[in-house]
Symmetry: C2
Subunit: 196 residues, 2 copies
């Protein structure tokens, strides 16, 4: 995210101003009440320019997180290699972001602020929904949402335990050991039986 | 918790006053900085009376949660029937508390307030530690903490997904289906391989 791409020569950092306005709006109003139009107004630009730089509201939200990867692209890469071992690949990808302090910082802040405020639905409407939807789209129809919600429980709890609460020995375990221990759980939720 | 047991005739609700002081102290100061002596002073009673009514600080903390079961006794009951199927029994026990609105309310408040405040360690020092320690004590020595931390990740995430974030279809699934889907994960963490 250099802010250079598509920037008009000599213009102020319009892209950065839009991002800043988006971040403030998502934090203050939540995901649902944030609109491209409102963010554009706050940044003093036309809504078309926000679409030009960022695409949809989901895209703008993902960009506002300042995480080093777009989780939807990362999911596509995980599932491009097939469903076998997707659990371990998915987990390794997620942990590679969270294991880096600069990847972890904005996410921990999002998790804390959203869970700490009963009125905030930023986590469920924003991050979880965007990832959840993208994940379900990679899974068999009719089962995608259930499988995705099961994956979400293990992923959320692992992130909380390892990064937010710092439960030992899990918090200090090398990444590949965590992948070996928890990967099979994700694999079972992705491709195992979900008899109902 | 009627506040009747051991109450001196004609005395005000001493037990209730101690509980109230304990709740305020845990919320304001966290788990570590709360002392039996401090709670006694806040309630205007002798520390010995706090011990008499509630036992240890862990006991006082569990009582202050106002949940319908003592999680340590519930764990003892789960493991008294052996390690086979303990995953499903453990999950069914936990869900039976959370599925009831009156059991869920204080726990959701605790989870939200603790996760929302980076300075609060009430969740990890209090609830998670008390349950975590009790759980590890039921597991083979040397592996107990790792297994307990893995169980904690799945349990925390399931609670967050089902009760706090309300992820569907998981949030509306009957309890026995959740037990069938997630129980095997807990069983694997309790008794499966944890090769390191």
């Amino acid at each position: 995210m250099t802010g250079q791409r598509g920037r008009r020569p000599g213009a102020p950092d319009t892209r950065g101003q839009i991002l800043e306005a988006a971040r403030e709006s998502f934090a203050a109003k939540g995901f649902r009440s944030t609109t491209i139009r409102g963010v554009a107004a706050d940044a003093g630009v036309d809504a078309a320019l926000v679409h030009h730089y960022f695409g949809t509201k989901d895209d703008l939200f993902v960009a506002s997180l300042e995480i080093p990867i777009d989780p939807r692209q990362a999911l596509a890469a995980v599932f491009a290699a097939g469903l076998d071992d997707a659990g371990e690949r998915l987990l390794a990808t997620v942990l590679s972001v969270w294991d880096e302090p600069e990847g972890r910082r904005p996410l921990v802040a999002l998790v804390r602020s959203s869970l700490g405020d009963p009125g905030s639905t930023l986590l469920q409407d924003g991050l979880v929904r965007v990832i959840f939807k993208a994940l379900a789209d990679h899974l068999p129809e009719g089962e995608g949402e259930l499988r995705a919600s099961l994956v979400a429980t293990q992923m959320l709890g692992l992130i909380l335990g390892r990064y937010v609460l710092g439960l030992e020995p899990l918090a200090s375990l090398p990444r590949d050991e965590v992948v070996a221990l928890v990967g099979p759980t994700l694999q079972r939720y992705l491709s195992g039986p979900v008899a109902q």
